[in-house]
Symmetry: C2
Subunit: 435 residues, 2 copies
Amino acid sequence: MRLSHYFLPLLKEDPREAEIISHRLMLRCGMICMIERGIYSWLPLGLRVLQKIQSIIHKYQQEIGALPMLAPTLQPAELWKESGRLDAYGKEMLRFKDRHQRELIYGPTAEEVLTDIVRRHVKSYKNLPLNLYNIQWKMRDEIRPRFGVMRGREFLMKDGYSFDLTPKDARISYEKVFQSYLKTFKAMGVQAIPLRAATGPIGGDLSHEFHILAQTGESELYLDQNLLDQEGLEMKDFEKFYAATDEKHDPSSCPIPLDQVSCSRGIEVGHIFYFGSKYSAAMNALVKNAGGQDIPLEMGSYGIGVSRVLAAIIEAHHDEKGICWPVPVAPFSLGLLSLGRSSEVEKTSTNCYQRLIDMGFEVLWDDTEKSPGEKLASMDLLGLPFQLIIGERNLQQGLCELKERKTSNVQVISLEEVLNILDTNTALPRFKEVF
Amino acid sequence: MRLSHYFLPLLKEDPREAEIISHRLMLRCGMICMIERGIYSWLPLGLRVLQKIQSIIHKYQQEIGALPMLAPTLQPAELWKESGRLDAYGKEMLRFKDRHQRELIYGPTAEEVLTDIVRRHVKSYKNLPLNLYNIQWKMRDEIRPRFGVMRGREFLMKDGYSFDLTPKDARISYEKVFQSYLKTFKAMGVQAIPLRAATGPIGGDLSHEFHILAQTGESELYLDQNLLDQEGLEMKDFEKFYAATDEKHDPSSCPIPLDQVSCSRGIEVGHIFYFGSKYSAAMNALVKNAGGQDIPLEMGSYGIGVSRVLAAIIEAHHDEKGICWPVPVAPFSLGLLSLGRSSEVEKTSTNCYQRLIDMGFEVLWDDTEKSPGEKLASMDLLGLPFQLIIGERNLQQGLCELKERKTSNVQVISLEEVLNILDTNTALPRFKEVF
């Protein structure tokens, strides 16, 4: 993408309304634009990241056999009366009437809708197990929306729902999603820690939250110090170490010595629940078992805050100059900077841009008339993993600069060497269409 | 996809509530499930088609340089007061108040939101032309929602907005989208006809609708008979022939003889508008021209009814047995049917399924225990372009059946020949990930 043809309204100053770093950086990078308190438009750069996060979620959901569907944003209040939850969400649930005075709500979650679909269409244990998920906009009418998309009102959520015949099967489904979530966050280039959690209004007796560690996190987490000391955690490690949210941590019954417990802050990006027949019993969602008896479905639900995880990634991956995107979710892999206006710089940049595109890289080329200083600062702010800098002086010696954003490591080498380094970097996505 | 692992709740009987064929077939094929009047969940099969349609739209939008972004579903009523349109939509616009008594609406379109974004971020003619589009859920609180997703309340729309300095530039942008829409519908495998149209509440003086011809269409269209007689229309043809919607057709000023005008019915799937400075002037969206003067932006807006076009495709592509999907939007390219339960059928089917997957085809394998008759009827209902039928009797002679759904043409040939035919069919998508 040529920057001169893109819509990337960068801000030079920190916007006053932004209290946390991800909100500040998302506004400064032209990723989002507030339309109403807690309600944002996603500008092209922000949407690219949001799409990449969604693609990763789809991949790992489908790997465990979960099936994509799409629930509507609006739901009849009736369904929530059936489940007995209409009041549980209080004022955070946006409620209103349509022109015929029918009560509707803007869904904050979709247990009722999915239970309704499955009770209408699944009658036998032979159609189980079933795991249906969707990525759809949700609404939570926060009393004080803040922190940008971290605590917005209209937010994008992946919500999945498993349906099984027995509690044992349901726990297998739960475990599959648990493992898959760890893979999902890892594939985004972030470390998310699972913790035993309270179930809140969703209900049930088994629940885990997934948190990305960050100083700015809203949640207090109690973690085995050994968990934090480990490098390159594998999934099975998480089962060995104590990790609990604030609500769940009880010093009097903690299974490890209290001086081994570290208190950290985290951002909740995922939450999974096993709640048995809470909804299926209330809503009469029954299937026949092998003996011909009608029994209520065993259910779990599984959420990832899609727009929130994007902000959490920035909280965990930035420095004083701007964002440092993990490669898998970077909006572009590479920034190409043309410094100076000589015809040589122009010619080399054009050639280089075309070759990178032909190699299947996602490149953002700053081909504008801004000063070299401005271009360098903007590119650091945007935080693409690599920068390829074409400047007049280097070019006279047949050289250019390849800079890794995260380490600031710069190599002054020939263009052919740059292309070779990028070509052999297997982490960089190729031929990836964002949509 | 193995049908035994899929969620495809087929209905054997025509649902009573469905008045038109696309609604009937979408319900019978387990593509959608009604949650509330005019509000549907998209089940896995329906969502696959919806995604393919979206991918095609993205491709042709980006081909003309339009940039993807995403506006929220909810908008502040204030913006609509600024443009003067708050009352124009009447009761079809869903309005409500949040917990702080702020007036919100569920967007039926997004001219105001986009004008607001652009007035905040674009100050100079140097940042033009600009064309921003999104595919997002919209709401139209129909007094009598009917015909399934054809006239639903919550519907998926692609809406794009162009911003230019001069009327001349704006007409160039309009023309680009016009041409691109013709390509878009053609790429979906359908013929859409553009017609001069009235502008309605969007405003402006230049507008075209795009219609798919179908007996069940709500709109009356007046077309040059020569247009209908043409085979394989090219884009430039549409500029030669008279075509107007009901509101726009005036017999007293028709440029061709009235006995050459044919009256047809069509389904509106796209609508484009050039409305100059209607919104930019009202909302003070100004840019500096080369002379340093602030002038209001010249704008157009461009819509495709994404969920509606899916239903329209079915209206135009079905027979008495079910849907006949055009290849580019078919949920799967191929249905694999195992008839009978011998170990040979099982073994050949398993092998065949794996080879088709390895070749990059999207295959739906009916590996269930249903009877041969039921499997054949369901596959015809689903309307995948090809069916590969593995039956015991043919298999004893090393043969299977390849059936083209649309023509019912059947070839009884060896599996290798089938694979060869499919392999050399360049129209079939390969290695396509739906998400």
